[in-house]
Amino acid sequence: MNKVSKLVLTFFSAITLIFVSTTVSFSKVVGDKIILGAAVSLTGKYSSNGVHTQNGYNLAVERINSMGGVKVGGKTYKFEIIYYDDESNSGRAAQLAERLIKQDGVQFMLGPYSSGLTKAMAPVTEKYKIPMVEANGASRSLFTKGYKYLFAVLAPANLYLDVAIDLAVEKNGGKPVTIAMAFEQDAFSQDVRLGILDAAERTKSKIIIDDKLPKELNDMAATLSKVKATNPDVLVVSGHTKGALTAVRQISEMKVDVKMLAMTHCDAAKLSKQHGKAAEYALCASQWHKSLSYKDKFFGGGMKYAADFKKKFDYDPPYQSAESSAALLVFKDAFERANSFDTKKVRDALAATDMQTFYGNIKFAEGGQNVSKPMVLFQVICNDDGSKCENKVVAPTKWASAELVHPIPSWSKR
């Protein structure tokens, strides 16, 4: 090839490149499709919850599309999601956010699974002013950075377990209680801890053990021995699925008696399935439970959602799926109110969201977190031989389907 033809070739390829990238960058709405971008963890350590997230998104897309889609400017559009696998890696998640926005021209994003990955992606979406509705990042620090384009349908992490302290105080005749806490040293669990600190201050309760578990730890024997020696009213544990499973195993093995045991991630850990009767009476924080009476016109209520989900994916929906589905309902609502695909207008419409979905009421605070949906607490209740355990909602009282068993019977009587 001589010099001239090389030059010509370079010139033409450059032109083509520019052409290709410009056409792509207007592809947020193609024909009658609204393209949403999402990076979820399909492999790596979050892969089970990543799949729950994706299933939740897919179910909602299918439902909205089949029920008439999204009406904007007198025209009907259908949702479509471009997925990438972020490999449960926050560096990769940030890269994929760039890629979705710059290469695929996505103008509207759905969140990944976990606070950590959401934290990695939020600065990117914020930089490009791309609205992101996320359903699986609850860490408080996501909502204190002043992000304008981040909206979370779930309650922030510091509200996960403070209800339990209120409940314990109520059961104690309004008198302060003593609290033992064991939290893993990661962003999410430490946020839950902050919530407990607030609740303790509010109720004038005393914290007698405040253990921070190292991430690699899978032995809580020392913490539980301290609990045994000090005999607190409430034991609060949060350390993702590993923490929940370790805690229940060792509490039952070491016969630790407390009046109330409150934790997070019971659902994700399949606590009652893996531990059976040993998990009984544990109180668990949950964003959603199928027995709640919220309603919307797409999924009906929680029970209906659970049944539809089970029919399609062959397992009961964990709350991670429910909240992911809710994210799409929020997007649809915002598009229709904005009546435009302008990212600024959609963002403003999202900020003004005030709606009820099967998952709960959704209304965003200044920081983007959903403040109008309380957390629910359920208690694991088993039958006599422990072969079947159920999660019964015990708080808030408005939705309670069972009475809280309090105090927890001692191990010698179980």
């Binding site: 730890l217 020392a222 370790t246 850990a269 059976g276």
Partner: protein, 297 residues
Amino acid sequence: MDFLIFQVPILMVQASMDGILLGILFALIAYGMALQWGVMNIINIAQGELVIMGGYIAYFMYVLGIHPAFGVIVSPVIMYFVGWGMYKLVINKVVDRDLFISILATFGISILAQQLMNFAFGADVVVAQSNFGTTMLFDNMVTLPNAKIFSGVVCVISAIILVVYMKKSKLGRAIRATAQNARAAKILGVDTEKVYAATFGLNAALCGIAGSCIAITFTLHPYTGLTYTVRSFMIVIIAGLGNLPAVAISGMGLGIFEEWADYLLGTEFRIAAVFSLLVLILVYRRFKLSRKREYLK
């Protein structure tokens, strides 16, 4: 700050017992590592993954309705062949190279094993139930899960069997000969290739036993192997190679130290405390060595 452990002295017993039981388990894993390191001069970064793999074998026995405690018999047998295969596929190509190459190779294996386990077994944290119950001492103030006691006993028995095997059997003698001088052993008719493969297999089998114990005492997850690698590495560093009693003592010592650190410094510092101790020991060793060198001059 007044310490709970001094106010409630019975906690000292609890902490020490917990530490010993934890330490024995780590010591067994560390012994496998020391064996391999001594014989082949390979630091196996994938040690923890072998442990987790062994644990999953026990877990799947539990899922199939077999008591997971039998994992301590089945798991080492399967893991022996896993280790043997690993040697034949990868390690035999790096065994004569320098330490750095073998660290890289085993690091690669460890990442691969994590991903494969994640793919095959899923990313959920799992546990196997032994339903062994609890031993209560001192008027229920000290509680020891029988599963932990079982693990401790199994680890001690396996260690004893291994020592006897290394002393008495033909392969054991060959392994020791190769560890002392591979070239000389080869000249005298020892098939070092076979010895290496067997050593790797033995190490994997030990990991299998430890893994089964972990399945019934702690939790399993494809990505939690590194903890066990680091811990066994540390025990070996402190104990030195080819010294089983020292490995056992340093394993248990670290376990007790860790539990006590939890009470005295706080849970958040227990792992930091163990690592600080490692640094101190290394510095002290170096100090001693340098004095020796001066003397030699």
